[in-house]
């Protein structure tokens, strides 16, 4: 049996096919992941823009941002923790919905309210991970994921409630405010 060469080419082809398939699938998966990454960049920007615009209060601004990002990258508003394309990537880390953080960036948060130099760092951040090798090629399961983060910092306009409060504090009880000047 060992000396027979029947089926030798088939066997060789089968072995090589596995390698070719692994690399080809890796290539496509990488392309999907990069394309998804670009889409997520746009999603965080759209969400940050919704967050930036003023509203009745800051919770309203946050809710608006959340609605936009859920609409773009999650399955539906009913299932905000299920990703739209889980085969490509899914949200990871903390946040609600999973992977989404709306508000101040970590450096801005650490700096506190005293400094305005980092006030621009407020917006939306989304962390997601995607499988890289569809055929494992001997890699550990934990190494098989690429984790990426997209962030959009557009700042946040003060809400009407904050403006009124500010004017009250400044002018002793008056809740009049004008244009964008609170």
């Amino acid at each position: 049996m060992l000396n027979k060469e029947e089926g030798q080419a088939t066997l060789e082809f089968a072995l090589v096919l596995a390698l070719i398939l692994a690399i080809t699938l890796f290539y496509f998966q990488l392309c999907f992941l990069f394309a998804y990454g670009n889409y997520v960049q746009y999603a965080t920007f759209m969400s940050a823009r919704a967050y930036m615009a003023s509203g009745p209060d800051d919770k309203d601004q946050e809710e608006r941002a959340k609605r936009v990002i859920i609409k773009m990258i999650k399955k539906s508003a009913k299932d905000p923790n299920i990703d739209r394309w889980p085969g490509i990537a899914e949200g990871t880390g903390g946040g609600n919905p999973k992977g989404v953080k709306i508000g101040k960036g970590s450096e801005n948060e650490a700096a506190g309210a005293e400094t305005i130099d980092l006030s621009w760092q407020e917006g939306v951040r989304y962390t997601f991970k995607g499988k890289v090798f569809l055929l494992p090629l001997g890699a550990e399961a934990s190494d098989n994921y690429l984790t990426l983060t997209s962030e959009s910092w557009l700042g946040r306009e003060p809400s009407e409630a904050e403006c009124k409060q500010y004017m009250k504090d400044q002018f002793g009880g008056s809740d009049v405010f004008f244009d964008n000047g609170c």
């Binding site: 080809t24 290539y27 621009w120």
Partner: protein, 177 residues
């Protein structure tokens, strides 16, 4: 000698390992394609991220001001915006810290998309590359307003200059861009 020839002929006619050899020939091409996708995508990502940060900084400067740039920038050292006769800003991301006097110009981010030993051409940040081994990512965000300029005698004059009676050359936003 005859035996050697027979071995040679047998080797050439032998089809063992043919698929493997084909795979080995294809492997560099496949790795090359993967590397190209990674590098081109990196350049795209750099462009997106630079644009996002430029926009963030512009919005921060214009933040909370009915007339931009924000007051804290207009009252700063040398009043760098209004003294030019127009309110205009072009904000971008530079690879080196730029001095206000123009001695150190902004340098665009560069991303290599070819092999390390390939010719990448001209590296002067103010010029285009002769070859496209490197991609130069230029991203700027502009804000333009005429809030502080008034038209007088065919010229736009900065309101800061009116008291001094100094006519300014006409520079409008379209020209600036």
């Amino acid at each position: 000698m005859k035996k050697l020839n027979e071995i040679k002929i047998n080797f050439l006619k032998n089809e063992r390992g043919q698929s493997l050899m084909e795979f080995v020939f294809m492997l560099p091409l496949m790795i090359g394609l993967v590397m190209l996708v990674i590098r081109v995508n990196s350049a795209i990502q750099v462009s997106i991220v630079n644009q996002k940060y430029s926009r963030a900084q512009v919005l921060a400067i214009a933040y909370n001001s009915p007339i931009y740039p924000s007051l804290r920038w207009r009252t700063g050292d040398g009043d760098i915006f209004v003294s030019k006769g127009n309110n205009r800003m072009v904000v971008g991301v530079s690879d080196q810290i730029v001095t206000g006097d123009g001695t150190i110009p902004p340098k665009a981010t560069t991303q290599r998309i070819v092999d390390a030993d390939a010719d990448v051409g001209n590296n002067d940040p103010q010029k285009e590359h002769e070859t496209r081994g490197n991609i130069r990512v230029r991203n700027t965000v502009s804000l333009c307003t005429m809030s502080f300029s008034v038209s007088a005698g065919g010229n736009n004059i900065s309101v800061n200059q009116i008291a001094e009676g100094m006519p300014y050359p006409q520079r409008i936003c379209e020209e600036a861009e």
